[in-house]
Amino acid sequence: MSTNDKGFSRRKFLGGSAVALTAGTLGMPFVRTARAQAATFKAGVITSLSGDNILGGNLTKRGYDLWADAINAKGGVEVGGDRFKVDMSYGDDQSNPATGADAAERLIVQNEVDVLFGPYTSGSTIAVQPICQKYQVPMISGSAESPNVWKAKPEFNFGIIPSVDTTSGMSLAVLAKLSNPAAKTIAVIGVNEPFSKETGEGFRDGVKAAGLEMVAYELVPPEGDLTPVISKIAALNPDVIAVGGHEEPLINVVKTCKSLNYRPKALIMHYGVTNPAFAQALGADADGTTGVAVWLPTVPYKDDLFGTAKEFAEMAQKKSGQEPDYTEAGCAASGLVLGDALKRLGKKPALKPEDRVALKDAIAETDIHTFYGPIKFEKEGPHYHDNTQPVPVLIQIQGGKTIAVGPKEAAAAPFIYPLPAWK
């Protein structure tokens, strides 16, 4: 260790700093942070702000914030004639369920939130549910779509989006009906990671009901190269290819298909297509890709806070520069559920623990119509506490824009089938 003339020892400095830092961190538990004195409702947002799921995580945060900003601009949630603002705090699950559980505990214990807004991924949601149960704090999840979330019968969790096993299968039926000449065969690719795999399985399970024959079901590792799988499928020449995965592999599928000069008659993906980053990365090559959405800016729903779906989309676009997808919308709708439940509950902040249990019961009775669509939670069955009301809309990217193409009642443009050869 070096010492200079003045006797300053680097070692002593570092040692002293280390001791100070240690003392500081050990003292942390005993420091109470000052809290805002105004009466507000407190909500905690758990989402993925880093790690693999950072893309989706930020979308959910945007959605929850949109609601908070909108309601606070009006003065807050209305309870018994008065208005109370909502105070939002955040926890990053680092795309990791264990960290999600930590985040939940911190928000509940440290920040004393009245309600949680749920994580982006189903894995985190499942890990957080027992924490909600333990502390008896309700959670509203604007994003989780895995059927496993609801199979666990969570008393304190409610989901806005219908789970993927219902939507992906239904969407194939819609596609098959729209195809002319009728599609007969399908190959399904699922990326072997949580949720993507369930989407793939949802497609696989919906094949029969859609009247299609499945010629291949391929589970691919997220880091793998896609040329062998695409070549194999191309050799089987199915009419439709369905892919369950998030943005990055979906982009890679399209690129790989083009580089092998292979164009199926229809390419359907679930989530990710509705994400603007997908079309931005692929440019003109994104055209023709079909996706599933439970909400679009063009759906004919509205409510008092956000107006029509279109108005919501315009507002969101202004704030973030990107058109909102259904995750962002679902998260904003979560706030509407909270606002409505608090109103019916009739209790003013600060809420006591038994009030939060009552809040949970109030949420269970939700039956509202929003810009997102109707929201009502199942009371029993495999989709317990999931909102299965919305009907999935088939969308297709045409001219760089996401357009609703089916079912017929919701279609804004004809479904392009079969897809033309690559340019």
Binding site: S50, G51, D52, I54, L55, N58, N192, V215, A216, E218, L219, V220, P221, E223, G224, D225, T227, P228, V229, S231, K232, A235, L236, N237, E247, E248, I251, N252, K255, K258, S259, L260, N261, Y262, A277, Q280, A281, L282, G283, D285, W422
Partner: protein
């Protein structure tokens, strides 16, 4: 009647709808799979060849290799999106820009690797890991999390040779890999400076005695490696896509190819990369895509046990 094809092509063809054309279709798939495998190998080789130099000369396994790849990809994206140019133009820019950056960082790595602390090789690895994490965090913070693509003239283009479709951009990557390997070969074996590099890799003590400035040479080599890897990154951004989280994947593959080839062996890297590519393609097509990486990592593990100096026994 054509004779039944033997070997792998005979497996798993029951799904074909037209049994009278079975054997021809099976052969087509076999050929396409072989080509796919070789091209995957070529792609992997682009970012693993120069990586060998780092170990050979600096005796450091650079965890940050994936970081250089992603940086190159981002450069390609920014140039294409910002200046409207073809992504290929980013390749020489990447070499210069990241070559200089690598040249500046090299000496730090050298110092740590040759310091007198306990376990300097672990310290150097930890440093490169810290660097990689810093790069990843920085990219996430300043450039965001969205996935981007590098558009080039060859993106998505292909040509057909008989039953086989050949993606052009991957051919470009393979050509790049061969050019780099060839260029490095000429450089290492036909120039004085290359001789100095080889001497240092073999026995740095003696090389120093012969007058080689090890420190300066290490900095140059690291810069060269960073530049080449970033160039490969531009291509990766075009073939696949780029976001801050994919860097780890490239580090993983680079490490594994390096070991398979024998740490420090530049020539072995090409062979090892091709081998891994072919394994990935065939396992993916004929066994099941979910098993492809399992097969690769198992192969790596077995090679390490049976022939630790790499398949060609050229490792240091």
């Amino acid at each position: 009647m054509p004779s039944r094809p033997c070997g792998l092509a005979a497996v798993k063809i029951s799904a074909f709808p037209f049994s009278s054309r079975r054997t021809v279709a099976a052969l087509d798939l076999f050929l396409q799979t072989l080509l796919n495998g070789l091209l995957i190998g070529g792609v992997i080789a682009t970012f693993t060849i120069a990586f060998q130099l780092t170990f050979g000369v600096l005796h450091v396994i650079d965890f940050a290799v994936g970081g250089w790849v992603v940086l190159g990809g981002y450069l390609g994206y920014f140039m294409a999106a910002g200046l409207g140019v073809d992504g290929f133009l980013a390749i020489p820019v990447a070499f210069v820009l990241f070559g200089i950056l690598g040249y500046l960082i090299g000496p730090i790595l050298y110092n740590v690797r040759n310091s007198r602390t306990a376990r300097p090789e672990l310290m150097a690895l930890a440093l490169t890991f810290g660097l990689f994490t810093l790069l990843r965090g920085g990219m996430l913070t300043f450039w965001g999390f969205n996935t981007h693509s590098v558009p080039t003239a060859l993106s998505g283009e292909s040509f057909t040779v008989g039953p086989v479709t050949v993606p052009l951009i991957r051919v470009a990557a393979a050509v790049f890999a061969i050019a780099i390997a060839g260029g490095l070969f000429l450089f290492l074996y036909r120039t004085r400076y290359g001789l100095a590099i080889r001497a240092t890799a073999e026995n740095r003590h003696n090389a120093a005695l012969m007058g080689v400035n090890i420190r300066r040479l290490s900095a140059n080599v690291y810069g060269l490696y960073a530049g080449i890897t970033a160039m490969a990154g531009v291509l990766m951004g075009s073939i696949y896509s780029v976001n801050p989280e994919v860097g780890l994947r490239y580090t993983l593959f680079a490490f594994f190819v390096a070991v398979l080839a024998g740490l420090g062996s530049v020539g072995g890297a090409l062979v090892a990369a091709l081998m891994l590519g072919v394994i990935e393609a065939f396992v993916s097509t004929y066994v099941g895509s979910s098993y492809s990486l399992l097969a690769i990592f198992t192969t790596l593990f077995l090679v390490l046990l049976i022939s630790p100096k790499g398949i060609l026994r050229r490792g240091l």
